[in-house]
Amino acid sequence: MEQEKSYTACKRTVFWFFIFSFGLHTGFKAGLKAVSNFLPQNVLIIADMVWAALIILLIIAFPIYVLVARYTVNSESARLRTGVVLISHQYVPLDSVLSVTTVLTPLSFITGFNFVVLNSPGAKSVMSFLTRRQAREISQVINDALQKRNRERGDAS
């Protein structure tokens, strides 16, 4: 029976996202205050409103995205379920994958901001917000499958 493993996104990322958003919001406010003497009042108000709407949207959407995201990997295919309003199911046959990119950001063992990108001709598939262990595990499974495929092709030729 074929082994298949499922992964969900790391919940820690929501906490760290709120921290970063707060920092970004503080920075934006400070920047707006610094330029307030040079810009008309209307522009400042509009910029403030747009920024507030963006932040609120992100604060609502990001946790939902993390809660909903699900990735399933076996030796033949990878499946991704992502999205907040637009729910998207992706199927990637590993036969078409040419390479795998693993992105481990600094301090990601705390934050959970790790990504795995599957590179196929004409398409890229991104598994976002994984723990380091998950990201390494997924990369290993897929790279093993690619190695086995290339060995089989070499034997056949």
Binding site: R70, T72, G83, H89, Q90, S96, P121, S125
Partner: protein, 510 residues
């Protein structure tokens, strides 16, 4: 004497060998910067202003002249260092900056080989050679070199020497049919782009004086016509559209004049063009899909054209990846069957219906309504510009109304169907209808998407991804969600994972 003759003979032989693996000398001029002509015009202007006093001109412009000479020396050095080598089964290109990049391409890996020769290149007996594989390398083409026509055709013959042309069937365009269909169905958009590009390039090369004089001339003519009582804006727009239509029509016609496609065991050999001549070799194994395309009017009259998705073909500017240029749908289907028998059409297994019309037309109608509303608001704030605003309002809203009509037809004709290893998709993208024939092994990813409104209606959108120069993604919208998932699952694309959401924890084995 014989020694001298021998030396001369050796030198000639060395020169011949040296030149045979180098690009055509016209490439030296191409290696100079595009904007060198601005500097040369400026120098020429000074020379004329100084009444051809060469000494004085050299004294005044020595720095600019040094720059020009340095550019030409650099171009010459680059020409010397960029060369290629031929072996029995491969071509090795030494390209890039001072020939630093060495690319080895085996003939077996070549997806497409193209030889293009414009009218100026024809006079100089040179042509451009493009060699593409399926790999996405640093530059846009694996190997790109300018050679003499005879040398390029030698390589062409070397690549396809093992593959014999299949006797019997050769597809040729019927010139009268091509002329009439191009006349009736040419799009004005590409012509408009050509016209604007020409004006912009002319503006860069000359100074703003030319532009002012041109606009004054046009304005004078328009004012004369205005006295007759005709709305000048409609007249100006009509003249522009007429002009770009003629340019687009002529360009399309010349591109596909004398188009032939000859199927071989491993390759399709395509020739086309009047003015600019093109030869293409497309390897069958690297063809990703066939695309039967038609506009709304072409659909009404059962006309279509067939494009082929193959790495490198259709990549160049203004190049269309045509397999069968504009012809009747019946001819296109029959010819495609003979040229590429491995691609088969399948019956639809899931299809949209009249219930999907609202979903298809809603966004174009909203956009059209927004354009009209913006026009009404603008008329309120700028009543003195009422005529101009109404004109712009109509010009903005018309394309969206037309899109709504096209999308309404698309809502009844979108489908997908599998049979064995073949897949057929019918969909509409912007204003063009597509019927795409795919092979399952060429599909690199499948995505099924559902928004809240589609979820209520039980519909979804399916995306198929392949390798492609222009359209790697094919979108089939508004099909029944559950039926689509079932069909995909039955054909090896199980998009939704096994196991219920409750079973899913971090790293659970199923």
């Amino acid at each position: 004497m014989s020694g001298t003759e021998g030396t001369a003979k050796n030198l000639r032989k060395m020169a011949k060998t040296f030149l045979s693996f180098r690009q055509h000398p016209v490439k030296i001029v191409k290696y100079t910067t595009k904007y060198l002509w601005l500097l040369l015009f400026s120098l020429g202007k000074y020379l004329i202003a100084m009444e051809f006093d060469i000494a004085g001109w050299l004294h005044a412009n020595w720095f600019d002249i040094m720059i020009v000479v340095a550019i030409f020396i650099f171009a010459f050095v680059r020409w010397v260092t960029v060369y290629f080598e031929l072996a029995e089964d491969r071509i090795i290109g030494h390209t890039g900056f001072l020939g630093m990049a060495r690319t080895v391409v085996y003939f077996e890996e070549i997806a497409s080989f193209s030889v293009c020769q414009g009218p100026v290149a024809y006079v100089l007996h040179s042509c451009q050679v493009y060699i593409d594989t399926d790999a996405k390398c640093f530059q846009s083409t694996d190997i790109r070199i300018d050679l003499t026509k005879s040398r390029a055709m030698e390589i062409y013959q070397l690549i396809c020497k093992k593959s014999q042309a299949q006797p019997g069937f050769v597809f040729r365009t019927r010139k009268r049919q091509l002329f009439v269909f191009s006349l009736l169905f040419t799009s004005a958009v590409s012509g408009a782009i050509v016209l604007l590009t020409i004006l912009y390039q002319a503006y860069l090369i000359t100074d703003a004086e030319f532009e002012k004089r041109l606009l004054n001339e046009v304005n004078n003519h328009i004012q004369n016509i205005e006295n007759s009582g005709i709305g000048i804006y409609f007249l100006a727009a009509g003249a522009l559209i007429g002009l770009v239509w003629i340019m687009s029509f002529t360009s399309n016609l010349l591109r596909h004049w004398a188009f032939t496609c000859r199927p071989g065991e491993d390759f399709l050999r395509i020739r086309s063009g009047k003015g600019s001549r093109r030869h293409h070799l497309l390897r069958r194994n690297y063809i990703n899909y066939l695309d039967f395309t038609q506009s709304y009017f072409m659909r009404m009259f059962n006309i279509c054209s067939v494009e082929v998705g193959c790495s490198g073909y259709g990549k160049r500017r203004k190049e269309i990846s045509a397999l069968i240029p504009i012809t009747t749908s019946k001819d296109a289907v029959a010819s495609a069957r003979l040229l590429t028998p491995e691609y088969k059409m399948c019956n639809p297994q899931v299809k949209t219906n009249s219930a999907n019309i609202v979903g298809y037309v809603i966004f174009p109608l909203i956009a059209a309504a927004a354009a009209l509303a913006a026009g009404v608001a603008a008329q309120y704030y700028f009543p003195e510009r009422r005529n101009q605003i109404i004109f712009i309002e109509i010009m903005l809203a018309l394309p969206f109304f037309w899109m709504a009509v096209v999308k309404a037809v698309a809502a009844l004709n979108t489908s997908m169907g599998f049979k064995g290893s073949d897949l057929t998709l019918s969909y509409c993208k912007w204003y063009t209808f597509h019927k795409v024939l795919l092979k399952k092994e060429k599909i690199t990813k499948v995505t099924v998407r559902q928004d809240p409104f589609s979820k209520i209606a039980g519909n979804g959108t399916v995306f198929f991804y392949t390798t492609g120069e222009k359209s790697p993604r094919h979108k089939v919208a508004g099909v029944n969600y559950k039926r689509a998932l079932e069909i995909l699952k039955n054909n090896g694309f199980e998009v939704t994972p096994k196991g219920s959401p409750k079973d899913i924890q971090q790293g659970v084995e199923i």
